[in-house]
C-alpha cells in the first residue's frame, strides 16, 4: 500500500502512542502524581525501567499519562484549526475579491512571525495553562490550512465540473462542500498529519517554558523541563520524555510523507 517502509514504522509508532494514551490508567505501573521523596531521581532498574524523577514519581507512568496530553492537545488543535482553516480557505478561494484580499493579508502577517514566538506571546497574554496553549495554537494553526485550501480551491473552481454544478442550480455552499472539498481533502489530510507533529512539538515547547501545563503535570515538555535542572546528575529524567517527543513527531512526519506520496495525483497510483 505504501511504497516507503518508514511509513509503516510511523504507523506502528502512532498506533502504539494512541493505544498507550487511551489505556494509560490501566497499564501505568504507578500513579504518575505520587510523590516519593525518598526515591528522588532513582536511576532506571528492573522494576522501574525509566527510573524516577525529582519527586520520586515513576517516569514511565508519567510518560504514559503524558501521551494523553499530547494526543488530546494535538487532535483538538488540528481538528478545530483545520476546520476553521478549511472554511476560510474555501470562502477566500471561491469568492475571491475583498474577502480574499483581507484574509490573505491576515495570513501574510501571521506568517511573517515565527509561529512559536507568536504562541509564546499569546499564552503570555492569556496566562499560562494548557487550555490557553490550545487556544493559542488554534489561533495560529488555521493559517497553513487556509492558505493551502485557498490555493487548491482556486485551481479546482475553474474546472468544468464545478461550473457544471453551478450551472445546474446548486448553491455556492453545496458546490463548495460537495464538489470542491472532496477534490482537495487528501491534500488537507497530509497537511493535518504534519501539523499534528508541529502541535505536539509546540505544546511540549510551551510546557517546557512553563507556559503550558502547570508544574507537576506529566506533559512531556514539562517533564523535559524538570529534567533539565538535573541533567548532569540524572540524565534519564530528560532523556525519556525527549525520546518520546522525538519518536512521535518523527512518526507523524513519516506517515505524512507516505500519505503525500500516495495521495499526490502527480505520482502514479493504481
Amino acid at each position: 500500500m505504501f511504497r516507503n517502509k518508514w511509513t509503516y514504522a510511523g504507523l506502528i509508532i502512532i498506533l502504539f502512542f494512541i493505544v498507550t494514551a487511551l489505556t494509560a490508567p490501566w497499564i501505568a505501573p504507578e500513579d504518575p502524581y505520587e510523590i516519593n521523596l525518598v526515591l528522588q531521581l532513582a536511576p532506571p532498574d528492573a522494576d522501574h525501567i525509566m527510573g524516577r524523577d525529582n519527586n520520586g514519581s515513576d517516569i514511565l507512568s508519567r510518560l504514559l499519562y503524558g501521551a494523553r496530553i499530547s494526543l488530546v492537545v494535538g487532535l483538538s488543535v488540528v481538528t478545530i484549526s483545520g476546520i476553521i482553516g478549511i472554511l476560510l480557505g474555501l470562502v477566500s478561494g471561491y469568492y475571491g475579491g475583498w474577502v480574499d484580499l483581507i484574509l490573505m493579508r491576515i495570513v501574510d502577517i501571521l506568517l511573517a512571525f515565527p509561529g512559536l514566538l507568536l504562541a509564546i506571546a499569546l499564552v503570555a497574554v492569556l496566562g499560562p495553562s494548557l487550555t490557553n496553549v490550545v487556544i493559542a495554537l488554534i489561533a495560529l494553526g488555521w493559517v497553513p490550512f487556509a492558505r493551502l485550501v485557498r490555493g487548491q480551491v482556486i485551481s479546482v473552481k475553474e474546472r468544468n465540473y464545478i461550473l457544471a454544478a453551478r450551472t445546474s442550480g446548486q448553491s455556492d455552499l453545496r458546490v463548495m462542500i460537495i464538489h470542491i472539498l472532496p477534490n482537495i481533502i487528501s491534500v488537507v489530510i497530509v497537511q493535518a498529519t504534519f501539523n499534528l507533529a508541529g502541535v505536539i512539538i509546540s505544546e511540549s515547547s510551551l510546557s517546557f517554558l512553563g507556559l503550558g501545563a502547570p508544574p507537576g503535570t506529566p506533559s512531556w515538555g514539562a517533564m523535559l523541563s524538570e529534567g533539565k535542572q538535573v541533567i548532569l546528575d540524572a540524565p534519564h529524567v530528560s532523556i525519556f520524555p525527549g525520546l518520546a517527543i522525538m519518536l512521535v513527531v518523527l512518526a507523524f512526519n513519516f506517515v505524512g510523507d507516505g500519505l503525500r506520496d500516495k495521495l499526490d495525483p502527480k505520482t502514479d497510483r493504481k
Binding site: 474546472r159 468544468n160 465540473y161 461550473l163 457544471a164 450551472t167 453545496r174 477534490n183
Partner: protein, 266 residues
C-alpha cells in the same frame, strides 16, 4: 403581446462585450431568436463564432471578467434571465433549463461517483430522500442507454468510456425533467459510431419527453438529423436563420452554401 402565444424562450437583441487588457470586443451582436415548446434549434458556425457564449448567456453563466457588458432580453416564459435574482436563476438552472457541456471528459467531478452526481442534481431541486433519488438516478441511466445502471451508479467518471460519460452527463441534465436542454457540441468529442448513438438518444428524448433543445455544433450533418430550424453564426452575428429545409434548399449566404457543400451529396 398575446400571452397564450408567448414562446418558451425568446432572445431579443442580445449583445455581449468582452474586455481584455483594456480593449473591448463585441462577442455577440444583436442576436435574436425564438425557441418554441418541443422545438429543436440548431446553432452552427465556425470555431470562435460565439456559439458557446450564446448558449451560456441564456443561463447567465459568463463570469465578469471577461464579460464587460451584456444587453438585451432573454425571456424564459415571463422571466428575464438577464434581469432576475440569483435565487430565481438558481431555481431555473438545471431544473427548467439544463446545460450539457462541450467536453464530457471534464464536466464530471472525478472524485464523486456517477450516481452521487446525478443524485446530487436531483436533490438540489427536489426534496426527495436518498432512496427515491437513487431509484430515479438508476432509471435515468437506463433511459440514456447505460447497461446495468445499478452497478454503474458506483463508478467514477474515469471508469467509464467517453460515450458512457456523455450519456451520464445527459442523464444528469435530464434529472429534473427540464423544459429546455442546451447541448453544446455534445457529440464532438466522441468517435463516429458513438456520435451516431448519442444523436439517436437525443432524437428519442425529443419524441418521448418533448423537450425543447438548442443543439450547438459545427457539423451541419448532425444538425440535418435533429434540428427543426437552424441559425448560422459568424463573428458573433446571425448571418442566416430559418426552418431547416428552407436553408438547405436555398441558402441565402455564400458562407452557408459553402458549409452545405462541405457536407457533400446533400
Amino acid at each position: 403581446m398575446n400571452l397564450n402565444r408567448s414562446p418558451l424562450l425568446q432572445v431579443i437583441d442580445l449583445n455581449v462585450d468582452f474586455k481584455s487588457e483594456g480593449k473591448t470586443t463585441a462577442i455577440l451582436k444583436e442576436i435574436s431568436f425564438v425557441l418554441e415548446k418541443g422545438e429543436t434549434l440548431g446553432i452552427v458556425g465556425e470555431s470562435g463564432s460565439g456559439k458557446t457564449i450564446t448558449v451560456q448567456s441564456i443561463l447567465n453563466l459568463i463570469p465578469t471578467p471577461p464579460l464587460s457588458g451584456i444587453s438585451g432580453k432573454i425571456l424564459f416564459k415571463d422571466t428575464d434571465l438577464l434581469n432576475c435574482s440569483q435565487t430565481q436563476l438558481r431555481s431555473i438552472r438545471g431544473k427548467e433549463i439544463a446545460y450539457i457541456f462541450q467536453e464530457p471528459m471534464t464536466a464530471l467531478n472525478p472524485v464523486l461517483s456517477i450516481g452521487d452526481q446525478i443524485m446530487e442534481m436531483i436533490r438540489t431541486h427536489e426534496s426527495t430522500g436518498r432512496k427515491s433519488a437513487f431509484q430515479k438516478a438508476v432509471s435515468l441511466l437506463e433511459e440514456v442507454g447505460i447497461p446495468s445502471p445499478e452497478q454503474r451508479m458506483k463508478n467514477f467518471p474515469h471508469e467509464l468510456s467517453g460515450g458512457m460519460r456523455q450519456r451520464a452527463m445527459i442523464a444528469m441534465a435530464l434529472s429534473c425533467n427540464p423544459e429546455i436542454l442546451l447541448a453544446d457540441e455534445p457529440t464532438t468529442a466522441l468517435d463516429v459510431t458513438i456520435q451516431a448513438q448519442v444523436l439517436e438518444l437525443f432524437k428519442e428524448l425529443k419524441q418521448t419527453r418533448g423537450t425543447s433543445i438548442i443543439f450547438v455544433t459545427h457539423d451541419l450533418g448532425v444538425i440535418a438529423e435533429i434540428a427543426d430550424k437552424l441559425m448560422v453564426l459568424r463573428q458573433g452575428m446571425i448571418i442566416e436563420e430559418g426552418p431547416l429545409d428552407q436553408i438547405f434548399k436555398s441558402p441565402q449566404q455564400e458562407y452557408t452554401r459553402e458549409l452545405i457543400s462541405l457536407l457533400g451529396g446533400e
